[in-house]
């Protein structure tokens, strides 16, 4: 706060008293011996208020007049030497802001000092109609903006909370009805169909067909994914190794295997074949000949579809109506069985599985139509 005050006082004794009081009040007091002295330093001092000692020369009335001529709105407070209400009111009529009574004390002068500092300034009054009008418009605009923001926020919140969210599609209908094998690639899905004797490559996102490779010499019954190739099993028991190129070029083929497999997979180390009719799982060497190492009996009720990954063997079991998880080391022991709600459709026949990146993909047919769906791998 601007706290410079000017005190016009000739008496050394009173100046000493007032200096102590105003120092204690926190004021920056500038003393002048008389009016001329005060006016000489007024411009430099720029006080917020002026205190004048009553009873000195020139009289306070004259000092008031001269000071008001220089600074019409500055609070001037005469310091009366006695409590004289009549004198105080006369001086207030002459332009004094208020009067202080003797004895001067901090307690008595504090309200006068504080009030004088607070009211110091001009009394100019501005025509604020236009300003108020603009303020009103601004306030209304701000209120409208706030309301709009709130409404938008509410709509957005409501939409986020209550609007039906598009459920990521996890089931796709196929334009063919007899899928027998499935291989999941980086951005596409390869599915074999025995009836049309073809391999279909689908877009992994929307399942649109990207290409079709006809297999006029082979009736595919199973697919298995390899590192840079895939295996295709035919109805004759022969398993061919093919490249995923434009024509799915055949690299090698095995001798007819027995029993004739209708499921196959590669766990990264060994090749596995499955025969759903006999319920036999055969562990094989991954060479061209796919030499059998050991045969296991499927531990579930009915082997519907079969696959594996680097950790487990998986089987869709229509007898258990679930997905069966088995150990690679002990395939005859079921680790877990997870119910498959899709089996609620009694016409569903799952024919192939694939495991990739924590998801199990299923393909088969139901009600005469091919379909594919996937689920998160059971924990």
């Amino acid at each position: 706060m601007f706290n410079t005050i000017q005190i016009i006082c000739a008496s050394e004794k009173n100046r000493l008293i007032l200096r102590g009081i105003f120092k204690n009040l926190g004021a920056d007091a500038v003393f002048s011996l008389d009016l001329n002295d005060a006016l000489a330093i007024f411009e430099k001092a720029r006080p917020a208020a002026i205190f004048i000692m009553d009873g000195e020369e020139p009289p306070v009335e004259i000092q008031l007049r001269e000071l008001r001529r220089v600074a019409p709105f500055i609070p001037v407070i005469p310091l009366l030497k006695s409590r004289d209400a009549g004198r105080a009111v006369e001086l207030m009529k002459a332009g004094a802001f208020d009067c202080a009574q003797n004895p001067w004390t901090e307690e008595a002068l504090l309200p006068l000092y504080k009030k004088a500092l607070n009211i110091s300034g001009t009394t100019l009054e501005l025509d604020t109609k236009g300003l108020r009008s603009r303020r009103r418009i601004l306030a209304l605009t701000l209120a409208a903006l706030c309301a709009l923001t709130g409404f938008s926020g509410g709509v957005y919140f409501g939409y986020k909370k209550y609007a039906a969210r598009p459920v990521p599609q996890d089931t796709f209908a196929l334009p063919y009805a007899h899928p027998t094998g499935i291989v999941i690639r980086k951005n596409s899905v390869l599915i074999s169909d025995w009836h049309s004797q073809a391999l279909y490559e689908h877009d992994a996102g929307n399942f649109n067909i990207l290409r079709v490779v006809n297999l006029p010499e082979t009736t595919p019954v199973a697919l298995a994914a390899g590192q840079d190739s895939f295996w295709l099993a035919g109805t004759d028991g022969v398993i061919e190794k093919r490249l995923p190129d434009e024509r799915c070029t055949r690299v090698s083929k095995s001798a007819p295997l027995s029993p004739i497999p209708d499921g196959a997979c590669f766990d990264g180390l060994y090749f596995w074949t499955a025969d759903s009719r006999s319920g036999q799982l055969v562990k094989r060497m991954p060479g061209d000949a796919l030499t059998a190492i050991k045969t296991f009996t499927y531990p579930g009720r009915k082997l519907g579809a079969f696959t594996c990954d680097t950790r487990f063997l998986w089987a869709a079991d229509p007898g258990l109506k679930g997905l069966v998880k088995m150990s690679l080391d002990e395939p005859e022991r079921i680790i877990s069985t997870t119910e498959l709600p899709a089996y609620a459709d009694k016409t569903l026949k799952l024919t192939a599985l694939a495991s990739k990146d924590g998801k199990i993909w299923f393909t088969g047919d139901a009600r005469g139509r091919g379909l594919v769906f996937f689920k998160d791998e059971p924990k």
């Binding site: 209400a85 008595a108 006068l112 504080k114 009394t123």
Partner: protein, 100 residues
């Protein structure tokens, strides 16, 4: 006290009793029946005082009772007053009407 209108507030002498020196302040609002007074001096609510001021002539010893007291942030006291003498308030009303 409104800082822009303090100079227009009416200076007033306040008498609290015959044996005490009078005090002073300013009338910040005046109506025929009520007034508001600002002063550096403290008075008790309920006390009867007389006011002397000028408003198109001198008004001396207008009797009023302090009905409410509040102290502002600067240490000034603001008083609400009601005038007690109907004969005085009638004259006051005339002066206020003429003033306005």
């Amino acid at each position: 006290m409104n800082q822009n209108k303090v100079g227009t507030f009416i200076p007033v002498i306040i008498k609290t009793s015959l044996d005490l020196p009078p005090l002073w302040g300013r009338l910040s609002r005046l109506s025929p029946l009520e007034a508001e007074l600002a002063s550096q001096f403290e008075l008790q609510a309920g006390r009867v005082v007389t006011l002397s001021f000028e408003l198109r002539g001198a008004f001396d010893d207008i009797r009023a009772r302090i009905t409410a007291v509040s102290k502002d942030g600067d240490g000034y006291f603001n008083y609400s007053l009601v005038f007690l003498d109907h004969s005085q308030t009638a004259v006051l009303a005339e002066a206020i009407t003429a003033q306005s």
